[in-house]
Amino acid sequence: MSPLEIIILLPLLAAIAIWLGAPGRATALGASVVNLLLVAGLFVQYRGDKSVEGFMAYKNSHEVLSSPKIAFAVGADGVSLTLALLTVLVTLAAVWATTSKERLHYGASLLISCGALGAFLCTDVFFLYAFHELALIPTFLMIALYGHGEKRQAAWRITIYLGVGSLVLLAGLLGVVWYCRPPGGELTFDLLTLMQHPLKADAPYAQYAPANFFVLLVGFGTLVSLFPFHSWAAPAYAAAPTPVAMLHSGVLKKFGLYGLIRIALPLLPDAAKTPWVQDALLYMLLGNILVIGFVTLYQTRLDTMLANSSVMHMGYIFLGIAAGNAIGTNGAVLLMFGHGISVALLFMICGRLRNQLGTLEFSKLGGLAKNAPFLSLVFGIAAFASIGLPGLANFSGEVMIFFSTFVNFRPSEGFTFLQVATILSLWGVVISAVYMLRAYRKLFFGQAASGLYVSDPGYGLRVPMILLVAALLIVGVYPASLLQVIDASLGTLFAAK
């Protein structure tokens, strides 16, 4: 049994135990802590072990269907380990931040966590897809039953959108499985086998590759809230209970991006470079950064603002993928980690404010820092991270992404659309600085609103926040801590060409 299987199944088993009557909070916290230690251990080991040059470490596989070949196969490289680390960090914080006494809440968080871990750590296309879908039911139930505001509507919207998106994705994945099948025609869903037969430009079916890539882009893109398939995200995150918002926006949404890097790029290597595909992607990500950026500027509530800003920042990660080189993809993974941590932290604080204040309207709030200096500090760090201040995790990712689009820049030939898009999206940084700093000032400083009082969390409850802040700082100051591991894995992806 590979340690990865334990990591994937532990939250599931804990959720079942809770459902059968085990105490909710203790079980969930225990499982999350153990999982964090396990993943961190594997991460450090992977980092130290230079012998795992190959693609996937800790491999293991159990066949579940003999024809077509489907196996519960797990394996990890730097990218999946980085995202697994993100998952367990956010899971622990989300479980810790859960205020409800009902056991259902803890079980739901663990199930979402299991889905995310399975999606990141499986190397069989079928299970990779299946685990992500597994997280849909708890997400839907939690939003519909325990959400805020227009919760029913938001729950339906996220379910239908993600449901249709994943079916489109499924069609794209089946296409890939068909086109990249090994010679002899035996169908397999094993990613490692498929990777040995990528659909290159000179392959017999190469003319279908761009269309297949586009289907994958729409499928994965819907899951990541790529413009114009984004309209489920903001209402869902605004309506979701705090732990679900943290887990979904921080972790689960990264699955679509991970899928593009893990499946679409290696299996359809030349399709991403097709002009019409690349142009389409650039237009869409500009929609995320500029259109949603302006939408975010005009939000009047903290939760909807955070939700929209989360949608907006996905644009940068797509830009890194669109660059189609090692630096850009490295930056994209790094930013996925940074964004996941910072947005989870922001939603965590947002949840506390909502619980204690009952309102999140900017116009009614102010001066919270006086009574809650710790909360104000943490919010500040997370907000600064999210707008890309140097020294915090997101910065290095964003810088790498912006640089990566200029790798092939020849001044004599002028700007291509990729570079124009980069220059336009740089304005997004300004936009996000405007809305984040404005929100920070409005909420925590200035005139204290009468009758509203927020206290700092107790010392025990500060632990998860400190944990996430520490992750932001460590990666921000020393990005190589992650990059060495990510690059070792992605290096092979781009060196092979």
Partner: protein
């Protein structure tokens, strides 16, 4: 033990149960347990290979291949589950059958427990039938028993109405089917499917009369499986029939219809067949229409039973589409195997939903979705099983239902049938909506409402629930468990090929 002796033994079991019912005063529940015991024994014999091997002298009209054994197993499981549900539902039946239900707690229940056994025999014969006469006789044994079962609650207007509807439309479909079979015999001069396949391969002359015959047969079978536009009876009959019978109809009768359809379609679509193209097209169009109508009509339903009826129409659509796919598709499974797999996954999830409905109705709740509000909160374990079943019906991954849909979608992708792929995707997305609406209702609680009822389940129901819930998960994560029982692709294809080559 020859395979047919299993069917004979079960026929005897049914007769014995009837006689015991008539001439002794044993408690009626004992009859039910007797039926369950006998059927379970038959299932064990089937599973452990006691009933395999060809029946000597019957090769021409009685197939005992892996697919037949698989469907026999399905029929047995469905029947056992139906009787378990009937045990829970007995008070309701009693109330509508007995003249003085308060005095005679068990009046009128005897036949209700033994008739399913006869249906089971019919379905098991159907699984093996490969000539026109056997198909017809077996089908009638199933259908006539169902006429009685649907109208069983004679003091309930709904049940009677459903019975009449089912009788009239069923008789009409039988007429169509037998007319089609007659044409088929007239055109090919053959009664067995093998000879018909051979005849189709070397067909010279016009295909119009053949297509006419095939159309009538498909229409007749389309009635049985509830395909659009032959589905109109489904919602009313499902709603009116006693709930266990509805479950039996939706799983057992449908599976029986599909095994026959599979064998007939395999004959029509066999390599070199003169009418393969148009027939495959007809199946795809029927399937597409069935998916769309079933799913879209399900959205508007407020009655859970009726919703399941429309959803069962929708599921039939997926099966029709896969039967229309090319027999040599690249998935590694024949369309017939995929359909069988789909039906195997459909069985546990449907029965769990109907179990909830049976128990809820017998303990004073209605069948409206609204009347089931909050049930999962007061019955967490039952609620979890039903949630899982509904998620599986919606096709959520790592459940059995996803595996079935996945294979269907895979087959359409490999055949390049993109319009039907789109329809399947739209249907699945709509399914998310109406199944999730039920889940939501099960977990919803309004302030100030009376606390939801705590339901009591009998031991057989609990066992059934545990086994079916487990099988949803097992088939979802380890599909090979079922896949192996279906035989390998080589053998299945060889079966079709020999049917053609032998002559």
């Amino acid at each position: 033990m020859s395979p047919l002796s299993l069917e004979l033994a079960l026929g005897v079991l049914g007769l014995v149960l009837l006689l015991v019912e008539s001439f002794t005063r044993v408690p009626r529940k004992t009859l039910a347990y007797g039926a369950i015991g006998g059927l379970t024994l038959a299932l064990l014999i089937l599973v452990f290979g006691g009933a395999s091997g060809q029946a000597p002298g019957m090769e021409e009209f009685y197939a005992v291949d892996a697919l037949a054994l698989f469907y026999k197993g399905l029929a047995l499981v469905a029947t056992i589950a139906t009787i378990v549900l009937s045990l829970e539902y007995a008070p309701v039946v009693n109330q509508y059958v007995a003249t003085y239900p308060e005095k005679h707690k068990e009046a009128g229940l005897g036949e209700f427990f033994s008739l399913p056994v006869f249906v089971c025999v019919g379905m098991m014969v159907m699984a093996s039938a490969k000539d026109l006469i056997t198909i017809f006789v077996a089908l009638e044994l199933v259908t006539v028993s169902f006429y009685v079962l649907v109208a069983y609650m004679r003091r309930s207007a709904a049940s009677l109405e459903a019975g009449v509807k089912y009788l009239i439309l069923g008789a009409l479909s039988t007429g169509l089917l037998i007319y089609g079979l007659a044409w088929l015999y007239g055109m090919t001069g053959a009664l067995t499917l093998e000879d018909i396949a051979k005849s189709l391969k070397h067909w010279e002359g016009s295909t119009a009369p053949l297509l006419f015959a095939a159309a009538l047969v498909i229409a007749g079978l389309g009635f049985k499986v509830g395909a659009v536009p032959f589905h109109i009876w489904v919602p009313d009959v499902y709603q009116g029939a006693p709930t266990p019978v509805t479950a039996f109809l939706s799983v057992g009768s449908k599976a029986a219809g599909f095994i026959v359809l599979t064998r007939v379609v395999e004959t029509f679509l066999a390599e070199g067949s003169a009418i393969a193209q148009p027939i495959s097209h007809v199946l795809l169009v029927l399937g597409g229409a069935t998916i769309l109508l079933g799913n879209l009509a399900a959205i508007a339903q407020t009655n859970f039973k009726r919703l399941l009826a429309y959803s069962s129409i929708a599921h039939a659509g997926y099966l029709l589409i896969v039967l229309g796919c090319s027999p040599a598709g690249g998935t590694g499974l024949t369309p017939g195997q995929i359909a069988a797999f789909y039906l195997a996954t459909y069985l546990p999830m449907t029965f769990i939903c109907f179990l909830l409905l049976s128990v809820a109705r017998a303990q004073g709740l209605g069948e409206e979705i609204a009347s089931l509000r909050g049930l999962a909160l007061s019955n967490p374990k039952l609620g979890m099983a039903v949630t899982l079943a509904l998620a599986s019906l919606a096709g959520l991954p790592l459940t059995a239902g996803f595996m079935g849909k996945f294979l269907v979608i895979f087959a359409t992708v490999l055949d390049g049938l993109y319009p039907y792929l789109a329809i399947a995707v739209i249907g699945a997305a709509v399914g998310f909506y109406y199944y999730f609406r039920v889940i939501l209702s099960l977990y919803s609680k309004t302030e100030g409402e009376a606390a939801p009822v705590k339901l009591k389940l009998g031991l057989p129901s609990v066992v059934l629930l545990v086994l079916f819930t487990a099988s949803i998960v097992v088939m979802g994560v380890y599909p090979d468990s079922v896949r192996k029982a279906l035989g390998d692709k080589g053998a299945a294809k060889a079966h079709v090929a020999t049917a053609v080559e032998k002559h």
